[in-house]
Symmetry: C2
Subunit: 386 residues, 2 copies
Amino acid sequence: MTDFDCSIPTKVFFGKNKIEKIPKEIKKYSSRILFVYGQGSIKRNGIYQKIVNLLTDSGIEYKELSGIKPNPRIVSVRQGVALCRVHSLDFILAVGGGSVIDCAKAVAAGVYYENDPWDFFTKKGDIYKALPIGTVLTLSATGSEMNGFAVISNEQTKEKLPAGSDILRPLFSVLDPTYTFSVSKEQTAAGVVDIYSHILEQYFSKEDDTYLQDRLSEGLMKTCIHYAPIVINEPDNYQARAQLMWASSLALNGILSYGKTGDWSTHYIEHSISAVTDLTHGIGLALLIPYWLEYVMDDKRLVKYVNYAENVFNIKEGSADKKARAAIDKTREFFSSLSMPSRLREVGVNENDLGAMADKTTRFGPVGAFLELDTNDVYQILKSAY
Amino acid sequence: MTDFDCSIPTKVFFGKNKIEKIPKEIKKYSSRILFVYGQGSIKRNGIYQKIVNLLTDSGIEYKELSGIKPNPRIVSVRQGVALCRVHSLDFILAVGGGSVIDCAKAVAAGVYYENDPWDFFTKKGDIYKALPIGTVLTLSATGSEMNGFAVISNEQTKEKLPAGSDILRPLFSVLDPTYTFSVSKEQTAAGVVDIYSHILEQYFSKEDDTYLQDRLSEGLMKTCIHYAPIVINEPDNYQARAQLMWASSLALNGILSYGKTGDWSTHYIEHSISAVTDLTHGIGLALLIPYWLEYVMDDKRLVKYVNYAENVFNIKEGSADKKARAAIDKTREFFSSLSMPSRLREVGVNENDLGAMADKTTRFGPVGAFLELDTNDVYQILKSAY
């Protein structure tokens, strides 16, 4: 277990109609806000109008930044920064999934930065101050609603890169499970994979004596496995949606990683793929994780696989090696039960691009902590997944 | 799963020498503080001098409130309130275990309350504002370092009562596992029972669909069981001390209870005992928990016991009833492996006092949520534990 500084200040308002708490929370900080949302689903399901009414009734003025796409683009961030500056907006309300929230975070930091906010992602500039943010979550997946990370894509450079700071943690997030009832089966499934991948990336760590953190992670992975088929088959099942929504926040708010070092290489590799193909993040992760698990497995790391096998999948028979392989198979089966593809060739990736993707993944150096991967390692994983 | 509002703002500085962060954190709020500690162990192990040096070097003035006892007394709280008022102190630094921190919390709220702070505990007065608090933890047990609860005893009325508010959550807590190396075997064991009891009180809840919360609780219970023998036999084992220290905070910072209703009847019963006998809290809990588990078990509640048996103790054979009873036996064994007594008669409780204890436990009405207990129920549990 390593040293750490823990700070999880985001207030969560969890439950039906908790959206009504928004005006009071916002007014602690502002009466002129940027209202960020995606491609219009919140207009169809009524959330947009509800928020507009709440803001108007409370005398909160707002400007809109809409049309944020999955894999949110740096051009939207630049637009948001300009809107905040021109209209003197000093609070950001993000309503949507992780893409919308990530975009809002980049805007929040960009407003205080004199150069292009893309610098945060290429490590040319530091996030040192940010506007306060509140969120209303409509998709259980990224955990962005309770953490300080943002991932932004640049269409020009074909890059998708992360940045983060504790000052980007939202001040509050409204988690109303009914807002996820209308999420499609496909997006729901990809969201579950995203949650699961966050847990797994933190679970497979190199430190000893992370018993507590590992047991918590196993509990959350089992939660994903338990509720995934329920939300797929019964999209209006409040309790199942609620359990997965809270799982998405807990999976990446720090609770699982304080005291250890996450791996995250699968995420870096996936970013290099979806920067080119605009693939849904969860689908890319489902594709890669089993191949990554196979590639990094060796005698030294086997004990983690055995824990994973025994405690998540209840695999108790056979040698350590057999248990580990059975657990990888079970992981594959779980993703495949969520209708995830299992080969990169199925999702429009060109085999000739794999080398460039490996180069891009390791542009800032090796990735991963459970096992450090260089460009060739990444290429091998991509090739096996092709 | 129920609705909830989550707020866990306490910053945690975890690791060796993290105490050095204190002056910078305090100076965000104050330069005149109340320094609260216990009966002198921090003078013997050097923490006191280290803090005095840190405060002095940073120009932070302090007044001391010392001698806080286990089962902290309302008289100490009143003393602290007076010190803050007379010397215009506006920040409280609590250095010790849960008793010292609880006392600091009551002082923090008492300063802003015009009447006697005992009112908070008898529900005659509300906590509405409090001085900011920082803590340095020296005993892994109560979780007070990351939550808003305080339990205070009144020697005159022979009462021990809880009060709480989110505004009493410490702003920061320093968790340096090396500070617990010198805790005696007995106090270490009682601390582990305290942690375990907090998890168990939240685990046994009546709501359905708390899969996520239950799996997290099981993970933390297993952590206690795994590391308890190690810290007893190797008091200087940093990793084991670290795991239990973090477990104590996570057990009661809200993560296990958001979305469900804790039971807490065993705590209420124990408070009625230790108000009279000054018994160590963890010992009282170890005594009561198995009898409570036996008393409230019935067909309706059996499924929770089966989960407990299977997931915490790996009991997979036999009927539901058999598994449940085996899990209660295992709980008893665990406490007994920590040298906990198993009968109230062994710890100086007078059989004639049981009725009065039951009355006091239910003075504000029935206790418990997994199963509501009236005065007679409590009396039956006390009698079976005698």
